[in-house]
């Protein structure tokens, strides 16, 4: 008996891109969505705790907004350098790719250094996972878990970008590899936009 369906192309046979992009890029997007959902969960928990805490501390007593603005400036700038590196990779301009990848790594390291400085200051003043000298004790848990989780993403991004830079220097990095690293880095910047607004400004 002849199977007529076998003659027709099927989505499950491979070679079909339902979203018009390669599988590696699609997997990166799916990872970004799932990671974004984890951050959404953390932000929702933070929102619940904050709304349910009558003695939530005043942000101006704990944070130096000028310093946080500098952190934000650093991360946004590193996103722009990353986008430039991705565009250069598409054009096959290896020198520019390497230069802007290194600038992005530098921006990521600077951000991590500033975050370590901010954490140290708060810990010295008595803030911790279960303690907060300015009011609601759960503030510390929210702050350190949320910014710590984001910081771990920045650290992973710096490692991935450093590896991509080394591969680019050796002529082994493909344009798509640089683009995938870039997608992850922009996601890290995107999450900071939410943390900066919801935690430091509101």
């Amino acid at each position: 008996m002849e199977i007529t369906a076998a003659a027709q192309p099927a989505n499950w046979d491979g070679g079909v891109s339902p979203f018009g992009i390669g599988w590696s890029k699609l997997m990166m997007w799916l990872f970004i969505v799932s990671d974004g959902l984890v951050f959404a969960g953390f932000l929702a928990i933070y929102g619940f705790i904050r709304l349910a805490s009558p003695d939530w501390p005043d942000r101006s007593r704990m944070f130096h907004l000028d310093f946080i603005a500098l952190m934000t400036f650093t991360l946004i700038s590193s996103s722009a350098t990353m986008a430039t590196a991705v565009a250069a990779a598409r054009e096959g301009n290896r020198k520019t790719v390497l230069r802007f990848l290194l600038l992005t790594v530098l921006g990521g390291c600077a951000f991590l250094g500033m975050q370590a400085y901010e954490w140290t200051g708060l810990i010295r003043e008595g803030a911790g996972l279960g303690s907060n000298p300015w009011g609601a004790p759960l503030f510390g848990a929210c702050f350190f878990v949320l910014t710590g989780f984001h910081g771990s993403h920045v650290l992973s991004g710096v490692i991935v970008l450093a590896m991509t830079a080394v591969r680019s220097r050796m002529g082994m990095a493909r344009a798509e590899g640089v683009e995938l690293a870039g997608l992850y880095w922009h996601f890290v910047d995107l999450v900071w936009v939410f943390i900066f607004t919801l935690f430091y400004l509101i």
Partner: protein
């Protein structure tokens, strides 16, 4: 070099919005501040996703999966949690 210009123009706009948000924090209060900051946050997220992550040049199916999935879950989480948190605050007797 012209392809890079769009990224640096976006960078400039993102910085201006960030400065505007910080200024709004000192000048506005209450619901006006909240709405302004949330709107600015949305514009910044759209700029990063659309321009830096090139989402605006992808297929509509991918754009919908990425944005709608996150927005819907975010909305459901907020709708479910915000009301409950306000109830907890009222039960504690401090929220009126």
């Amino acid at each position: 070099m012209t392809t890079y210009k769009i990224y640096w123009a976006t960078w400039g706009v993102l910085l201006l919005i960030t400065l505007g948000m910080i200024a709004a924090g000192g000048a506005l209060t209450g619901k006006l501040l909240l709405v302004s900051l949330l709107l600015a946050m949305g514009v910044k997220a759209a700029l990063i996703g659309g321009t830096f992550m090139h989402l605006r040049s992808e297929q509509l199916s991918l754009i919908l999966i990425v944005t709608l999935g996150l927005l819907l879950v975010g909305a459901i989480l907020f709708a479910g949690i915000a009301a409950d948190a306000v109830r907890v605050l009222r039960l504690s007797g401090d929220g009126g």
